[in-house]
Structures are given as C-alpha cells and as structure tokens.
C-alpha cells in the first residue's frame, strides 16, 4: 500500500506531502510515523475512526502543532519550520473544525480579515467573488458573525478561507453540524472549487459517504498510521468495505 502512494506521486506533481510524521499532545502520541502525498489538483478524503489522528494531521500541516519528527512539504518546498502565517502566505489555507469566525466582527469585517493580503483596492473585488458563491452572506453584511446561524457561519468561514486563494486547502469537517442538504451543498461547492480553480484539497469528514463521493482518492487512517487507500473512493461505499480497517484494526489496537 505504501508503494501505491509513492507510485501515484511520481505520475503527477505533488501539492502536499508529509513524511514520517510523529506528533501528539503532551506525552500522548497521536501520529505514529505517518507519510502521505496529495497530488496537485487532487481531492483526498481522510477517513478513519475517532482519534485516528485526522484533525491532528491537519493541525500539524497548518503549523498549529509542532511535530516531534518528520517533515511537511508544500509544492516541493519544506515548510516544517515555518510559522502559521508564512504557510498561509505560501498558499496553504486551513478550515478549522467547527467553522470558526470572529464573532464580534461583522460579516464584512470577517471577510476583510480573509482578504487582508490583497491591496485595499482589490479587496472588494475578491470579496464579491466569495459573495457570488455564498449569496446569503450579503443579506447579513453588517451583522455580527456571532449572531449567524450554524450554516451561515460555516459558509462565512469557508468564504474567509477561500479568500486566501489557496493552492492547498485543508478542510476539517466543513459540513459538521449542518442539515444533510446544507452539508451536501458545502461538499458540492468544494468539488466545484477544485474543478474550476484546481485547488488541492485534503478533506476530513465525518460524513464518510459524502466525502467519498466528492474525493478523487481516499486514505484511511487508523491509530495515527496509514491503513489503506483507494483511487476509487466509490468502491469503499459498498456495505462493509470499511469495516476491515475501522473495526478490525480498532479491535487489534484495543487488544494490544
């Protein structure tokens, strides 16, 4: 399986790569020597049971958590030692789990925070682009973001991340807490953005079914290490296909 990943990477350019990552909180090790490559313009869905290290992996890539060992590469340059804001400037954007926004800033100010790196004259134009994706935000233009509904907040958070014009987008459960229809819409938007702008996406999603439908490739994590991958995510939609590394590995882990 590990070879399959390497093979894939040789055929297309790599957008994002992590090598032998070890990381955790305090003394608790979460990622145990994980390696992963995501090709440019690819959507990779990360799936796995709770505590497998999916969110931790995204945090390490974004720079919010320093790894104990291993390296992170963006477009062929190593970014392991860079602080968060420099990674963002290099084209990495991170949607934090739960869709975080600045609650006491208005919707407009939130989007302006997203558009900070544009010169002032071009900000409005960039923001208009996002508003065309999420027209509902315009109705709440002067509202404090903390007063938005869950779905609107999620859309705003995604809009702010997209304003970074990312090359690589890390999405941590963009549809969490949303009604099924809204969740579906958000994931469809992700696919749309990927197709139109060629954004590379690493997607962590609790809604495994939807995630596998939008992804080009899926990788399963169990216990902080690589468990399996497929170039045909739809094949994992078959009843019972995931049981092997969800439940099998978990039992084994519990036994050890």
């Amino acid at each position: 399986m590990q070879e399959a990943i390497t093979n894939m990477a040789q055929t297309s350019k790599i957008g994002l790569q992590v090598e032998r990552l070890r990381a955790g909180y305090g003394k608790k090790e979460i990622l145990r020597g994980l390696s992963l490559k995501v090709g440019q313009g690819e959507i990779v869905a990360l799936i796995g049971p709770n505590g497998a290290g999916k969110s931790t992996l995204l945090k390490v890539i974004a720079g919010l958590l320093r790894p104990w060992e291993g390296s992170v590469w963006l477009d062929g340059t190593e970014i392991t030692a860079l602080p968060v804001h420099q990674r963002v400037q290099k084209g990495l954007a991170y949607f934090i789990q739960g869709g975080e926004v600045f609650p006491s800033l208005t919707v407009r100010e939130n989007l302006e925070m997203g558009a900070l790196m544009f010169p002032k004259a071009k900000r409005q134009e960039a923001i208009e682009g996002v508003l065309s994706l999420f027209p509902a935000l315009k109705e709440n233009w002067h509202r404090r973001a903390g007063l938005l509904s869950g779905g609107q907040r999620q859309a705003l958070a995604l809009g702010m991340v997209l304003l970074k014009r990312p090359k690589v987008l890390l999405l941590d459960e963009p549809s969490a807490g949303l009604a099924p229809k809204l969740a579906h819409e958000i994931l469809a938007k992700v696919r749309e953005l990927n197709e139109h702008l060629g954004i590379t996406v690493l997607l962590v999603e609790q809604r495994v079914r939807e995630a596998l439908q939008v992804a080009h490739r899926a990788v399963a994590l169990v216990n902080g290490t690589f468990a399996a991958e497929t170039n045909e995510p739809a094949s994992w939609l078959v009843e019972g296909a995931l049981d092997a590394f969800f439940f099998g590995r978990m039992e084994r882990a519990a036994a050890s």
Partner: protein, 315 residues
C-alpha cells in the same frame, strides 16, 4: 426677633446652598478630569488584556516608569518639555515591547498557563518598582514646581494641566476607538481579541500584533502617568492604584470591549469624587471595590459586554 436678622439667616442658607452646588460641580469636574486620566490607563490595560488575556500587573510599573523617565529628562537633564515627554513615552512603549519579548512571549511559547503569566507579571511589577525606588528614593518627586495657572468655567475651576489632561483624553480616546474600527491594524487587534488561532490562520503574524498592542498600551499608561505627575507629582508606588482602577474599570465596563473600560473609568472616578464630597476620602477604595463586587455579582459581563450565544462562547 427683628426682620433684618431673618433676612441674613435666609441669605446664609442661600449662600450655603450656592456653595454646596458649586462644590458639587467642582467635584464632578474633578471626577471627570480623573476619569480622563484613568480612561487612558484603562484603555491601554484593556488593549493588552483583551488581546492576550494576560492580567498585566506590570502595567502599573510601566505607568510609574513613564513618570520617572519624564522626570529624568525634564528635571535631571533639564531638556524641554515636549522632547522630554516624547522620549519618555517612546521608552515606555519600548518597555512594554520588552516585557512581551522577554517575559510573556517565551512563556507562551513554552505553553505556560495564564496564571504563570500573571505571577511573572506581579514579579516584574515588584522588581521594577523596587528598582525605581532604589534609584530615585521613596519620597515624592515633582515635575513642575510652583502654582499652575487656572481657568474658570462658571462654577468650575481647572488648572492648566487639568485642562491639558481633558484635552489629551478627549482627542486620543475617540481617535483610538476610530482606528480600531477602521484600520487594518484595528481589525487585526479585534480579531486577535476574538480568536487568536483563527487570526494566525488568516495569515496574520500575531506576534507582531501583540508587540504593537504592548507598545501602544504602555505608551498610553505613560501618557496618563506623565499628565498625572505634572499635576500632583509622583512616588514609586503611583502605579498600583492606577492599575487597580484600570482593572476595575475594565471589569465593570465589560471585559472584551474597548469602549467599556473608558466608560468604567469615568463612572468610577466620578463616583469616587462624590464619595469624597458626601462621605470621606478614606472610603474611595471601598467604593471602587464595592462597585466591582456589585458588578461581579449582578452583571458579570459588565456594562457593554454582551451575553454570548453558546456557539460564540465555544469558539
């Protein structure tokens, strides 16, 4: 008794009333002037607390240092007033930056808790104040000897320096609030107040924003200290009451807000003034802390703080 006597009694009562109301106006004015001074300190303290969540006790020592730096340039070296004040404020800002660079930022990098930051801040306060006392002595120092010129506004008399205090605060505070609303730096500061992680993820170098906040907050403490010292002089311990008023003003005005501490400082100082009039100056601090306890019990979010939605509280 004859009529003329009654008349004079009436006049005496009327005069007493006049005096009383004059006194009231003067005390309200004094409260307002003090409010101007402490609003500057409180705003600086709030800038730092709201963005970093550090209970920056050393702010009190930086306040004291501001006054003493001005003393060195103005009295010891005999430089002219504008130069002395500008230099003192620059160095005060630098002192704030150094506090962040050498104490708080390293602590944060090591993942130390806010309680550790608070204790370090207390330590820093004690060290700095003792250093100042060692170098300059404990006795009161005066920046400008002599009697100040006064201005009369109806029943109110203000000295020239009090007038300067009012003007400074009335120009600076609205300007700062406006800058917080309208500029990128202001937005970054408010963003950092709301959510430091997200601010970083938005590509902002939060370390630089924090340095800026410490510089600005400290300079404001310096301005307040210099203006106060020009009026009533200084000793090494002027920082602690200023810090306490700033902290109480922030809590009763609303933690997390920037307008709140300004309103809180005015409210507190005017109330203190009225207490001096009706009760005694000895009860000033009791009233300050009584008000604090009242707010903590009945309106913990402060005057301007809003109860947040559950989702907001989580972020």
């Amino acid at each position: 008794m004859s009529r003329p006597n009654l008349k004079s009694v009436k006049r005496e009562i009327a005069d007493a009333f006049m005096e009383e109301s004059k006194m009231l106006w003067q005390l309200l004015a004094n409260g307002f002037v003090n409010g101007c001074l402490f609003a500057l300190t409180a705003f600086g303290f709030a800038l730092i607390y709201n963005t970093t969540r550090i209970f920056h006790i050393a702010h009190g020592a930086i306040y004291t240092a501001g006054a003493y730096l001005c003393y060195v340039f103005l009295v010891k070296l005999g430089w002219n007033m504008p130069l002395a004040i500008i230099l003192a404020l620059t160095l005060t800002a630098l002192l704030g930056i150094l506090t962040e660079l050498l104490v708080y930022a390293p602590l944060e990098r090591r993942g130390a808790s806010l309680l550790v930051a608070l204790l370090s801040s207390l330590g820093l306060y004690i060290a700095l104040v003792n250093f100042i006392a060692m170098v300059f002595g404990n006795e009161t120092k005066v920046l400008r000897p002599g009697v100040e010129a006064t201005f009369h506004f109806g029943p109110i008399i203000l000295t020239r320096i009090q007038f300067a205090q009012v003007i400074t605060a009335c120009v600076l505070l609205p300007l700062l609030l406006l800058l917080l609303r309208l500029t990128d730096w202001g937005k970054k500061i408010r963003a950092l107040r709301d959510n430091p992680t997200l601010t970083e993820v938005m590509g902002v170098n939060t370390r630089v924003v924090r340095l800026f906040v410490f510089a600005l907050g400290s300079a404001l403490a310096g301005i307040s200290a210099v203006l106060s010292a020009l009026d009533i002089g200084m000793d090494p311990h002027i920082g602690m009451p200023a810090l306490l008023i700033a902290a109480v003003a922030l809590i009763i005005g609303g933690v997390g807000t920037f307008e709140g501490p300004i309103i809180g400082a005015f409210l507190l100082c005017i109330l203190q003034s009225l207490v001096i009039w009706q009760v005694s100056a000895r009860w000033m601090d009791a009233v300050t802390f009584g008000l604090l306890i009242f707010f903590l019990l009945f309106r913990p979010q402060g005057l301007l703080g809003q109860r947040r939605r559950l989702e907001e509280a989580l972020t």
